[in-house]
């Protein structure tokens, strides 16, 4: 690929990011979800662990809740972006432009994921203020790298789901269902050891599982090399992107051959 090919792609992504950020800045729903969800979930999860006399799991609950917020924001907004385009009557126009829809959504989802980093900070702050937990990140460098990779990877996973949202008007319902299995299967705030063994393969293909492992290891300073886990997250991200690309092509083909998006 030549540099002249990359620049337009970056410009599309940049413009999508800016547009989505502007839209988020005036969305009370987005802002409230961003600020309230981490607080409520942190209080529930850390409060439950403290009541069960397991304060050592407080940090685990906090990082899990942070990832819950990032995932929730990303999935919710992936669904909401498509629904918004559909509601405003611009989905067909966006699909008909020469710019690939995948790139537009990549930029929009990335903007949401970046904003949701704030949620991670809010969970730590809630743990500190509400429960006075001794919260410190032992390896901030590894934590930061892990967080960046997780955000990128969750964006890619959100894109994969986003492609399916084009062919359904039930994106909102799908989002409300898809949240909790990911929380459970990825061990976000609940240990994976509670789950039956047959669920492990599902856990392993979900990027929040690995993100949870990395962020917990970096926060608690449990040591060990992070590199294998970083590589797994990167590998999964490219796998999601590949599937998303195939799905978008398929969806685009279906829409163009039908000549309308109204039938879905």
């Amino acid at each position: 690929m030549k540099t002249s090919d990359i620049m337009p792609i970056l410009r599309i992504i940049k413009n999508s990011v800016i547009l989505q950020m502007k839209s988020n800045a005036v969305s009370i729903y987005f802002i409230a979800t961003l600020f309230l969800q981490p607080v409520v979930f942190t209080v529930i999860s850390v409060g439950t662990y403290l009541y069960g006399n397991k304060p050592d799991l407080g940090l685990f609950a906090i990082t899990g809740t942070g990832l819950i917020s990032i995932w929730n924001n990303n999935l919710f907004t992936s669904g909401e972006i498509i629904r918004g385009e559909r509601r405003t009557g611009t989905l067909s126009l966006v699909m008909a432009t020469p710019t690939p829809l995948l790139l537009i959504l990549l930029g929009k989802s990335f903007a949401n994921a970046v904003a949701s980093v704030l949620a991670m900070g809010i969970t730590f702050l809630t743990g500190l203020l509400a429960f006075r937990l001794p919260i410190g990140i032992s390896d901030p460098f590894a934590f930061t790298i892990g967080l960046v990779l997780v955000i990128f990877s969750i964006t890619c996973l959100g894109l994969l789901f986003g492609s399916l949202f084009i062919l359904t008007r039930n994106a909102g319902e799908f989002v409300s269902v898809a949240n909790f299995p990911v929380y459970i299967l990825s061990g976000l705030s609940v240990p994976l050891t509670l789950l039956p063994l047959w669920t492990r393969p599902f856990s392993q293909v979900l990027t929040p599982t690995w993100g949870n492992i990395i962020l917990n290891a970096a926060a608690s300073g449990s040591g060990g090399s992070m590199l294998p886990n970083y590589l797994i997250i990167l590998g999964l991200s490219f796998f999601y992107l590949l599937i998303a690309r195939i799905l978008y092509k398929k969806v685009e083909y279906l829409a163009l051959s039908a000549g309308t998006l109204e039938q879905w």
């Binding site: 729903y29 799991l57 909790f180 459970i184």
Partner: protein, 263 residues
Amino acid sequence: MRNNLRLFWSGTRASWSTYLVELTPTVFFGFRIPRIILQSLFFVYLAKAAGGEPLARFALIGNAIQIAVFMAMLSMEEVIESEKWNDTFQYLIAAPSSWFPSMLGKSISYFCDAILASAVSFAALIPLLHIDISFINLMRSVPVILLIVLSASALGWSIGAFSLPIRYGFMICNWFAYAMIIFCGVNIPTSALPPAVQFIGNLLPVTHGLQAVRALIDGASYTSVLPLVGAECLVALVYSAIAWLTFGYRMKVTRQLGTFELV
């Protein structure tokens, strides 16, 4: 009386029709039922990780009822708010009949939906997690569960009536319902909460009723939980009164000013 019953019946029919349009079999079995089970499952797993089987049992009872509370609150808020979005609020104002029987009828299918959610949650999670809950005792607690859902519905109506002039009623109700997991002792007992949180919890629906349900499931007699049931009834009545007065006030203001929207 007969006219009011007719209004109630027509509201019920409208509610049932809307329910069937919104909840196609795909949405119901593909999204609604899994969501009900998975949301409860997550919080029960959390409790199990924190406090083992006893806390998991505590959380299962709490969450199986909370899911009904959650759905009842959101739906009742929507029943009120939909009058605004469907442009039918002005007809309610202009109609010579009372708005109450019609609105009550419009809420019926959602009330039944919430009860169904609780039943599905109990039916799925008890065998799935092998939690020891006596079926007979669970059946004995059904009237109190109905009361809890009713009092949560009253809170949903109140929020709907309060938030009618703004556009964020559903969001407010959503977060209110989540916060009730903390305040009402759904995952952990209210006695473990700070006094200020306990105080707020006592003013909310669910708190007292849930304690009564837990006691009934553990084999307590109805007489012993009567004070808790009485407190839940009182809370339900207060929120119903708030909803009634606020909605009536909104109608009055709209009639006077010709608008109710603030934003």
